[in-house]
């Protein structure tokens, strides 16, 4: 049934049109320029008025969102996953699902400082509190620092930056 008599018997089921490939390429080029332009915008100072930590999140978020859109375009149209068989799509999906699961590991590094426990604070203080902004949502209070914080006196000022 699939082997249409008008076609070569060995012809593939779906051949992408040149127009589709050209449009995909143009969209990728526009997104490439957009990601450079977005990186020029300092969200921390220009948009959110000196909330530089939030600005860093937004800058990174925009850059990664554009990269994911670009990757999706490449996978869907250049790699033809949109028109592939269900089994092929499942396999194409599997690698990215695994990647997502693995990146959850990063949540550990992200949230470790939210809940200061003895040992953690000593094991994972920002290596250079003078240059690295505090991006802990719940910095140690003076009370909890006494209980849980690092014992070394020179590290006592960390988290207050």
């Amino acid at each position: 049934m699939r082997h249409n008599t008008a076609h070569d018997e060995n012809a593939p089921h779906h051949i992408p049109s040149t127009g589709l490939l050209v449009r995909t390429f143009l969209a990728l080029g526009v997104l490439m320029l957009l990601t450079i332009a977005a990186a020029e915008v300092d969200f921390g100072h220009e948009v959110f008025k000196n909330n530089s930590a939030l600005g860093t999140y937004v800058n990174n978020g925009v850059a990664m969102l554009i990269a994911v859109i670009k990757a999706t375009l490449v996978v869907s149209f250049f790699m033809g996953v949109k028109y592939a068989s269900k089994l092929s799509r499942l396999w194409a999906f599997a690698g990215f699902v695994w990647l997502t699961l693995m990146l959850i590991t990063f949540g550990d590094y992200w949230t470790r400082s939210w809940e200061p426990l003895q040992g953690w604070a000593a094991a994972s203080p920002q290596a250079r509190p003078d240059v690295n902004r505090d991006r802990n949502f719940a910095p140690l209070t003076s009370e909890s620092r006494e209980t849980y914080g690092p014992k070394k006196p020179e590290a006592a000022s960390e988290g207050s930056e």
Binding site: I36, T56, G80, W91, G95, W98, M102, Y109, W110
Partner: protein, 222 residues
Amino acid sequence: MSLAIADKHEHHDDLVCHQFMDLEQQRECYIVGMWSFLAQEIMFFGALFLMYMVYRWKFQDDFYIYHKELDVRMGGTNTMILLASSFSMALAVRYAQLKERGAQLRALLFTVLCAFGFLVIKGFEWAHKFETHHYPGPSFAWKGAGSPEHAQLFFSLYFGLTGLHALHVVVGILLIGVLMYLTKKKRHSVEDYIPTEMIGLYWHFVDIVWIFLFPLFYLIPQ
């Protein structure tokens, strides 16, 4: 017995290897096999990306200082070159499906030229890093702001990730080169479009890795 089976499948013509029922099944097997290889590649690069994320998270402000050493114009040009090569690779697959061999070979040639162009620009970037001793090792030197130890870490990640990516580009050039040779000289082995499609999948994957490497290294926000 085996001859009888061979006769039975005669109408599928000799594009189909004997272990497959028909061309459709054979093609799907190849595509699934290629994607399982790419899943392994995603895992391989994914772990390296995670490593990068952890250090970037810890030393964001330092990394912002170091990333100014990278030339965003060169990185951007290389991104465009790889996107163009992916586009011509997708065209090559289309021409292979239509059995337009001349157009297919021209598209593949353009892809290879783009790949060489990418490596040449990458080579200039690396050469500059070697001149300024910004490559990790005993002679590493850092005179700018930020910690020199973290600078070495940043450039280790830079050379590690872009180096592995460049290695994939070199492998891609070899694969496309062999494919072009076979298409020209021994057409039967690449009569079906699937070999082109598989190498295309590989090449697009290399492009996707760069799509993420470019913002992560060249566009670090303050």
